[in-house]
Amino acid sequence: MSFDINKIRSDFPILKKKINGKQLIYFDNAATSQTPSCVIDSISDYYKNYNSNIHRGVHSLSEQATESYEDSREKIRAHFNAKYKEEIIFTSGTTHSINIVSNGFVKLIGKGDEVIVSGLEHHSNIVPWQMMCEKNNAKLNVIPINDDGELDLDELKKIVSKKTKIVFLNHVSNALGIINPIEEIIKLSHENGAYVLIDGAQSAAHFKIDLQHLDVDFFTASAHKLCGPTGIGFLYGKKELLNKIDPLMGGGEMISDVTFEKTSYADLPQKFEAGTPNISGVIAFGVAIDYLNKIGFNNIEKYELELLDYATTKLKKIDGLKIYGDVKNKTSVISFNIIGIHSYDIGSILDKYGVAVRTGQHCAQPIMDYFNIPGTVRVSLSFLNTFDEIDILCEALLKAKSMLS
């Protein structure tokens, strides 16, 4: 399929919105992606036509809902190329997924053991592990970053050892857009007998991911960053590992046998899907993946990198504008400051021009601490954006700058 930006934009009703009298320009795609009509309609369709609790239901509605729900699992499996369908666990999002794994590792590792996090993480991939370490006394080591915001693999080589039990990092940094060298990190970790969890919240929307090829042990992403709805995501884990870890939550569906004396867990994936799941969310997630594949990840990647190039070049022309993480290997995210002006002030003024950006720490305080800044302005582009929008951003930035200095 060729990439027709106007046609694609027309699939997204929100892009017609006016903000403060101006056309909405949405540059906050890394926080949440916008939603195409087909995904929105699939949610309505569910509630209008086959809303029902799933599994164990004997009636037709329940069967239709169950089938659509399980079809969606198969779509996710196929798209990310997991080996088995039951390796795909539906969660409420990346944060939930990571907590399942960190909680599961409470019992698997202990005092004297070590775990490694990158210095480039979202709080969701730091805090759960700190909570784990508090329980099992494992030691948390950090892969440091350099002044470009890149991970220092030489340092990783020094801290990884046979004591290392699991290494967790994001595929792409949400604050800077840098793509981490996960193939190398997975190899290095596996050589030392450590498992690897990859937080794909910021990568899955931008290029195709092959889980079997990566040979990663755990992987997760959120639907709301993939043109899907809020409140849904998935955790991938290798079957033998998912079988090994305890579930985070107990409840209906996740058990095979319950007495007051003893309970036995159900097989995968149910073991980790306690309670009534976000059924409409799961189904719509599948529709979103189909939609993205229809556009084609090759097309998306190519177009987004063109946008990134154009925007980076133009922004750099603004006096006093400093980009953080301005490296070669990145997705279409630009994190910057204008020297002497607080990101929050810039964001507030941009909003008046209809331009939506994110400002602040981006839930990645350690990165901000490293650069010793209170935050950045983050422009996160997606395949829905246009070159014109970037021009308008630059004009609005100049106006904000003159107002604020």
Partner: protein, 138 residues
């Protein structure tokens, strides 16, 4: 008769039914011919997971052929079991391993059963094939 012949027969039998009541009545009828399973065989070891009503399946090798005994609490499920055993009972492991299972779609069982029930059906077939593979290695 070969497994294939039997499957063909079943497909024909089922093609005559005009509505679900006839299909169900036929399955209920079939269920009554099911060989009785010993109560003590209805143990946890023999339970098949993934079915809505409890299903037990026991298998033993008898002079190169597999003898199956199965039962369920629910009569419609018993009907499904009866169909499966008509086909797979007293066959050699290899016959079972090599047999095709798309007769299920052709019978219309899949549509006329529900996906949940179809899941149970597939779980049973999976277990039957699992036994066949296990016995073929002995």
């Amino acid at each position: 008769m070969t497994i294939e012949n039997l499957q063909q027969n079943l497909i024909e039998d089922f093609s005559f039914f005009e509505d679900w009541t006839q299909r169900y009545e036929y399955m209920i009828e079939l269920s009554k011919g099911l060989e009785k399973m010993d109560e003590q065989m209805k143990n946890d070891k023999n339970i098949i997971k993934g079915c809505q009503s409890k299903v037990w399946l026991h298998a033993e090798l008898n002079e190169g052929k597999i003898k199956f005994l199965a039962d369920s609490e629910a009569i419609i499920t018993r009907g499904i079991i009866a169909i499966l055993l008509t086909i797979f009972n007293n066959r050699t492991p290899n016959e079972i391993i090599e047999s095709d299972t798309n007769f299920i779609e052709k019978i219309g069982l899949k549509e006329h059963l529900s996906p949940n029930r179809a899941n149970g059906l597939y779980s049973m077939i999976k277990q039957i094939k699992f036994y066949a593979i296990a016995f073929s290695k002995k």
